[in-house]
């Protein structure tokens, strides 16, 4: 979008457009008015879903971009995360009122009709602004590639972590010489650690916060440990379910045992109890600013490899280009430039706990000094992710269908073995069902890197 020429009619039109936009919230109707106001040549409309600490970080990064790129005006809108965000993004893209740049969870990209609701990135343009494939963890980059085209440019990965309090673990003799939690390699070792921690903790608190009744967290934990066991979901062609109920049962029994052995108070708040003195909590890395703000003496590792191999559930925030009928020109270039800028200046973002996806950031001295971030940065190399199918991704259909089932096992109202069978049934049904967006099943979905 170039600079609109200044005439009385344009000004009046812009003012009218603004009034309407203000009253209806139609992003697309604010034609050029903001660019006019700021004197910038190009205006990039950017939708994101970051609130809280992430929101503040993102705004700081945008301000830095505005400062260094006065010719580009960024109009950012923060929307409620989760399904409300995806609904709005889909409708805006379908109605050709899409923003120039958006953010999505990587797992949702496959289901978001790449090619119809999303436009592919121009990788040459990205390279021009300093972002190249070799700057990324290959597995992460590949998740954004569909039918050979890059649809999602990763900003970070965010993982579930095992937060521990050094003061309690020190008393229980569970800290190594490096001041970090001693490594754990089996379920027995893990429960032994919990037992020792329990004897050293304050009374009245749980030993570990496990989000036992939260369908998202329980699902994420399941994905992590099922991956640790080497569990598979589907075959490569997405025609056959390879889900292994025996392995699933093992994971479900493991999660359940935290409750039956009395290490968890079901429904108790996790972060609050941790701040009050509970030795462990399994939380997303976005809790780092909260715990650091509370001035706790704590550490954070990836989820313990209790089934022998490392794997931590990981999702990713990624930049996407919502579909526009005539994408291109200065605005599109501005969107590429903004995304590349944020991705390559992600140290600020890392302060919020996320692991920057752009690997050169990870090797900077400043990043290496960040604690506890430097303790879990290895999670990048053993990501446990949902399968690459249209129904996967953060708060997507898969999580919605399977999350509550995992909860029922952890909470004890259903047997792990039968829950594992139920999960397989759900997976079989989902694999055969059609993506409402384009009427194709996962096998026909074209989600091939």
């Amino acid at each position: 979008m170039g600079r609109p020429d200044l005439s009385r009619r344009h000004l009046l039109g812009a003012a009218g457009g603004l009034t309407v936009a203000a009253s209806f919230g139609f992003a697309a109707l604010g034609t050029g008015a903001d660019a006019l106001a700021s004197g910038a040549d190009t205006r990039v409309r950017y939708w994101n879903l970051f609130s809280g600490g992430d929101g503040a970080n993102m705004i700081a990064m945008l301000d830095a971009f505005r400062h260094s790129h006065p010719d580009i005006d960024v109009k950012d809108s923060t929307l409620q995360w989760g399904n409300p965000f995806y609904t709005k993004l889909a409708m805006a893209a379908a109605g050709n009122r899409a923003p120039d740049l958006g953010v999505m969870h990587m797992g949702r990209v496959t289901g978001f009709s790449p090619g119809r609701l999303l436009d592919p990135w121009d990788v040459d343009l990205l390279a021009k602004y300093g972002v190249r494939e070799q700057d990324y963890n290959p597995a992460l980059w590949k998740r954004g590639v569909i039918d050979g085209k890059l649809y999602a440019l990763p900003l970070d990965i965010h993982v579930q972590l095992c937060f521990y309090r050094k003061d309690v673990l020190g008393k229980a003799g569970l800290l190594g010489d490096d001041g970090r939690m001693i490594p754990v390699t089996s379920t027995d070792e893990w429960f032994d650690v919990l037992k020792k921690a329990k004897s050293a903790q304050k009374k009245g608190l749980q030993t570990i916060g496990l989000w036992t009744n939260d369908q998202n967290f329980q699902w994420w934990f399941f994905v992590a440990f099922y991956t640790q066991l080497g569990g598979k979901w589907f075959d490569d062609a997405n025609t056959e379910v390879l889900f292994d109920p025996d392995k699933a049962t093992q994971v479900l029994e493991f999660l359940r045992r935290h409750v039956t052995d009395g290490y968890v108070i079901p429904g108790a708040p996790t972060g609050e109890q941790f701040i009050n003195g509970a030795p462990f909590t399994w939380e997303g890395n976005w809790s780092v600013p909260v715990f650091s703000g509370a001035k706790l003496d704590y550490g954070a590792t990836p989820l313990p490899p209790v089934f022998g191999r490392q794997a931590t559930h990981a999702e990713s925030h990624a930049f996407v280009l919502p579909h526009q009928a005539n994408r291109g020109g200065a605005t599109n270039e501005g969107a590429h430039r903004l995304a590349a800028y944020v991705v390559t200046h992600a140290l600020q973002w890392a302060a919020g706990g996320h692991i920057p996806a752009y690997t050169p950031t990870l090797s900077t001295a400043a990043y290496k000094k960040l604690t506890p971030q430097n303790e879990y940065v290895s999670a990048m190399d053993h990501q446990a992710t949902e399968p690459k199918v249209w129904f996967a991704g953060s708060t997507g259909v898969l999580a919605q269908d399977l999350g509550p089932v995992v909860v029922s096992s952890t909470m004890g109202s259903a047997k792990p073995a039968s829950v594992a069978q139920t999960m397989k049934k759900h997976l079989t049904k989902l694999l055969a069902s059609k993506n409402p967006m384009d009427g194709r099943t996962a096998a026909q979905g074209g989600a091939v890197a």
Binding site: G82, N83, P84, T87, A90, M91, A93, A94, G95, S113, R116, L117, T212, N213, D214, Q215, I265, P266, G267, A268, P269, E272, Q273, T395, G396, V397, Q400, P404, V407, S408, M411, S413, A414, P436, M437, D438, G439
Partner: protein
């Protein structure tokens, strides 16, 4: 049309009267029509049109983006009838209704009696009972989420218990019912209070003179005089409770509750439409729900009519 009456024949007079009425009706529409036009326009735009559109969509496989929809006939309805999750969700809404309606009716009546008969600080009682109703649903639900939270919630602390209110399927719905009672009883309370104040005092005086005691006066005057308002309270509550959504969703952190136990019909419809993007299917479910609600409303009207006819 102002012919004097004595110069015309009876038949013509009748005709004139009819004509006058027609003219009046026409004039009435000319004036009144313009008054209701804004309402009618909005009603058509936001109720009639979406309803018709919903009926149409329910026969398609439309997705959230609104394009590429195919006509699928009755497929969505057939699927819904075999969708166990939908029946479960309907069951939860019905269960909630069964719990809430009797409790709220009785509670509203008792509170109204209390506020009506109490002499000192009348306004304070009325305020206390009614004020919760003025809170936004999210505020009320958030308050109760805190009250019921295990470990730190006021309810368990106060009574020295460890009930998992929000995390166990046998308690979750009860917690929502308790929240709903506190939050919405004020409205029914107000209806009852108004009705109580509308009962003429001379009835009670006469009864007293005849030697009726307090119980007799309650059974033979108060309750019969409140019959219509009770019918109204129950009907409004049934229709409102079946549409359970916001308080349950907020109290359960936007999830379907422990093991889906508080997932209401409305919530399931929303999930289908906005998480699974199946707008066609969600529309079919909305239509099914519309029919259920309409049947309940009609049944109530029919019951009322039979009762009134019976009373005649």
């Amino acid at each position: 049309m102002t012919t004097s009456a004595h110069t015309v024949l009876p038949g013509a007079r009748a005709r004139t009267a009819t004509a006058t009425a027609t003219v009046r009706r026409k004039q009435g529409f000319q004036h009144g029509g313009w008054f209701v036009a804004p309402f009618l326009a909005l009603f058509a735009l936001f109720v009639v049109w979406p309803l018709l559109r919903g009926v149409y969509l329910s026969f398609t496989d439309a997705n959230i983006s609104g394009d590429g929809a195919n006509f699928v006939g009755l497929d969505n309805y057939r699927e819904a009838l075999h969708d166990q999750a939908m029946w479960d969700a309907l069951g939860h809404s019905a269960y909630f209704t069964l719990l809430v309606v009797p409790c709220i009716t009785l509670l509203a009546f008792l509170l109204a009696m209390l506020a009506h008969h109490i002499e000192r600080g009348k306004w304070l009682w009325r305020l206390c009972f009614f004020v919760p109703f003025l809170l936004p649903s999210t505020v009320a639900a958030n308050m109760f989420q805190w009250l019921f939270t295990q470990g730190i919630g006021l309810v368990n602390e106060t009574f020295g218990i460890t009930t998992p209110w929000l995390t166990d399927k046998s308690y979750a719905m009860i917690a929502i019912v308790i929240e709903t009672l506190w939050w919405t009883v004020g409205f029914s309370f107000l209806l009852y209070l108004a009705a109580l104040q509308g009962i003429p005092g001379h009835l009670y005086e006469a009864a007293k003179l005849d030697g009726a005691n307090a119980w007799d006066r309650m059974v033979h005057i108060t309750l019969p005089m409140l019959r219509n308002i009770t019918g109204l309270v129950i009907a409004l509550q049934v229709l409102a409770s079946l549409q359970l959504f916001d308080q349950a969703v907020v109290m359960m952190d936007f999830g379907p509750g422990p093991e889906l136990s508080t997932r209401s019909f409305v919530q399931y419809t929303l999930e289908q439409g906005f998480t699974s993007y199946r707008v066609g299917y969600a529309s079919a479910m909305s239509i099914i729900f519309f029919v259920i609600i309409a049947v309940v409303a009609l049944a109530r009207m029919w019951l009322l009519r039979t009762r009134e006819e019976g009373a005649r």
